[in-house]
C-alpha cells in the first residue's frame, strides 16, 4: 500500500504546530497502524529528519499508552486501540490525518505525544482502596454478588488511554472517571471511601480543566474497551448520593 499521511508536527509544548504531509510506500495491510508509523520514522531517520514522536508501550491493546486521532476518530475507524488497528482498515492511496488527543487537560508534549498526567491525578484523588497490606486475604472472606462483580469488571476494563476525552466535543473525562469510580464503589472493598472517592475524583476532574458531559455519547463509541455510556449516569447517581449523605 502507498499512503499519504498528514501528521501533526510540533517540536515542543510551547512551539507552534502544523499538519505535515508525508508519503509512505510498501505498507502491508497486516501491519498495525503503529508499525506503519515506524516505517515512516525509519524513512525520516534515513533522510536525517526528526522522527514523529508518538506514545506506545505494550502494543497489544492492554496498557493504554497508544493514542492518536486518525481521520477524526480516536484510535481510528475500528473499535480498538491504535496498536491493534491494522492497515487493512485502509485502502491503497488513502490520505490519512493523524492528530494528537486534543484537550486542555492533555497538553501536547511533542508531535503526537500528550501529557495524560491529569488522569493520574484523578486516580490519586480517590481511585484506590484503603486495604491493609500484608498476606493476601482469603478470597471468599468477602462475598461479592455476581451482578456487582460483573459491573466492577466491566468498568475495570478501562485502560486510561484517554480516547473518551479525545472524542468528546467538550473534552470531558466523565467516562474515564465514571469507570474508575464505578469499579471501586460497587465493591465491598471500595465502600469505606464510597462517598469521598466520587466527590474527590469529580472535583479533581473539574480542576484539571476537563469539560462537562453533554451526553453526546461520543466517548462510549470511541472507547476501545467498551465502557458503556450509562456508566456516567451511574457515577452521577453516586455523586448525588454522596452529596446527600455527606462524606463520612
Amino acid at each position: 500500500m502507498k499512503l499519504t499521511l498528514r501528521v501533526w508536527r510540533q517540536r515542543g509544548a510551547d512551539a507552534p504546530g502544523h499538519m505535515a504531509s508525508y508519503e509512505v510506500d510498501g505498507i502491508s495491510e497486516d501491519m498495525s497502524f503503529l508499525e506503519m508509523l515506524d516505517t515512516l520514522n525509519e524513512d525520516l531517520i534515513l533522510r536525517g529528519e526528526d522522527p514523529v514522536a508518538f506514545d506506545h508501550d505494550c502494543r497489544e491493546g492492554i496498557c493504554g499508552a497508544c493514542s492518536l486521532v486518525i481521520n477524526g476518530d480516536a484510535h481510528g475507524p475500528e473499535r480498538t486501540t491504535t496498536c491493534q488497528l491494522h492497515m487493512r482498515s485502509f485502502d491503497d492511496g488513502d490520505t490519512i490525518d493523524v492528530e494528537p488527543w486534543r484537550a486542555a487537560a492533555f497538553p501536547v508534549v511533542k508531535d503526537l505525544v500528550v501529557d495524560r498526567g491529569s488522569f493520574d491525578r484523578i486516580i490519586q484523588a480517590g481511585g484506590y482502596i484503603t486495604a491493609p497490606t500484608g498476606a493476601a486475604p482469603e478470597a471468599h472472606a468477602t462475598a461479592v454478588p455476581k451482578a456487582d462483580a460483573d459491573f466492577a469488571f466491566e468498568h475495570a476494563e478501562c485502560i486510561g488511554c484517554g480516547a473518551c476525552v479525545a472524542a468528546c466535543p467538550n473534552g470531558s473525562a466523565m467516562l474515564f472517571t465514571s469507570a474508575k469510580v464505578n469499579h471501586l464503589n460497587v465493591l465491598p472493598q471500595g465502600s469505606p471511601e464510597r462517598e469521598t472517592r466520587v466527590l474527590d475524583m469529580v472535583a479533581r476532574m473539574d480542576e484539571e480543566g476537563f469539560g462537562g458531559c453533554t451526553l453526546t455519547g461520543e466517548c462510549a463509541t470511541a472507547c476501545p474497551k467498551g465502557i458503556p455510556l450509562p456508566s456516567i449516569a451511574a457515577m452521577n447517581k453516586e455523586w448525588l448520593r454522596a452529596v446527600r449523605k455527606g462524606p463520612r
Partner: protein
C-alpha cells in the same frame, strides 16, 4: 493500620453542587424538568382554544382566581411565575457556565472535522438560545400584549387569533416549537442520565419517553397556529 482522618472541612452542600460540573448539570436538569412539567400543563390548557372563546377566556379567568378564597386574586399565578423565572434563570446561567467550561476544555480543534453527536444533541445550545428569545417574545406578545397588533386585555382568545393571523407571529412560534421539540428530545433523556436514573436496561424506555414528550409538546402547541391559519379556530 490506621486510616488517615480527614481534617479539611467540606464546603456546604449548595457550594459543592454549584461548583461542580456534575452538580451544576443537575441544577440544569431539575430546572429543565420543572419547565418541562409546566409546558405539558400549558399545552393542555392551550388546547381549550378548540372549544370556543368562552371556554378559553373562562379558563384564563379561572387561572387568576386559582386558590381563592385562600389566595388573593392572581397570587397563584404569580407564585408559578416566580418559580418559572427562577427555573429559567438557573437553567440559563448553568447552561452558560457549563458551555464556557466545555469550550475552554478543547482549545485546539481537530484539523480533520467530522460531525459529532445527533442533531438534537448538537443544537442544545443554539436551540436553548432560540427558546430564551422566544420566551421574551411570547411574554411581550400574549402576557404584556406590548407587541400584539390587536391587543385586547382580558381577552386571550382574541389575542391568540391576532398573533396567528400575522406571518411573523406564526413563523416565530412554529420555529420555536420545533426548537422546543429538539431540546426536549435530547434534554429529557439527558436529565435522566444527569440525575442518575439512566441505565442500560432503562435506556429504550427513556428514549421513547423523550421522543414521545417532544412530539406531543410540538404537535399540541403547533396545532393552535395551524388551526387559526386554516380557519378551524376563528
Amino acid at each position: 493500620m490506621a486510616l488517615a482522618t480527614r481534617t479539611d472541612r467540606r464546603p456546604s452542600t449548595t457550594r459543592t453542587i454549584w461548583d461542580s460540573s456534575v452538580g451544576k448539570k443537575s441544577v440544569m436538569a431539575v430546572s429543565g424538568l420543572v419547565m418541562l412539567g409546566y409546558l405539558v400543563v400549558h399545552m393542555l390548557g392551550n388546547l381549550k382554544i378548540f372549544f370556543g372563546a368562552d371556554e378559553f377566556n373562562g379558563y384564563a379567568h379561572w387561572l387568576r382566581t386559582l386558590g381563592s378564597p385562600f389566595l388573593h386574586h392572581e397570587w397563584a399565578l404569580w407564585i408559578v411565575r416566580v418559580g418559572l423565572l427562577a427555573a429559567v434563570v438557573a437553567h440559563a446561567v448553568s447552561a452558560y457556565q457549563l458551555s464556557r467550561r466545555d469550550i475552554r476544555a478543547r482549545p485546539v480543534k481537530y484539523a480533520h472535522k467530522r460531525r459529532r453527536a445527533s442533531y438534537a444533541t448538537r443544537t442544545m445550545r443554539w436551540g436553548g438560545v432560540i427558546l430564551g428569545l422566544f420566551i421574551v417574545w411570547h411574554l411581550l406578545d400574549l402576557t404584556t400584549l406590548t407587541v400584539n397588533e390587536r391587543a385586547w386585555a382580558g381577552h386571550p382568545y382574541e389575542n391568540v387569533l391576532s398573533t396567528f393571523s400575522t406571518w411573523y407571529g406564526n413563523t416565530i412560534y412554529i420555529v420555536a416549537m420545533a426548537a422546543l421539540g429538539l431540546h426536549v428530545r435530547h434534554g429529557f433523556w439527558s436529565a435522566a442520565q444527569t440525575l442518575g436514573a439512566g441505565s442500560a436496561r432503562r435506556d429504550r424506555t427513556l428514549k421513547f419517553l423523550a421522543n414521545g414528550l417532544a412530539l406531543v409538546l410540538f404537535a399540541g402547541f403547533v396545532s393552535v397556529p395551524v388551526a387559526v391559519m386554516t380557519g378551524v379556530v376563528n
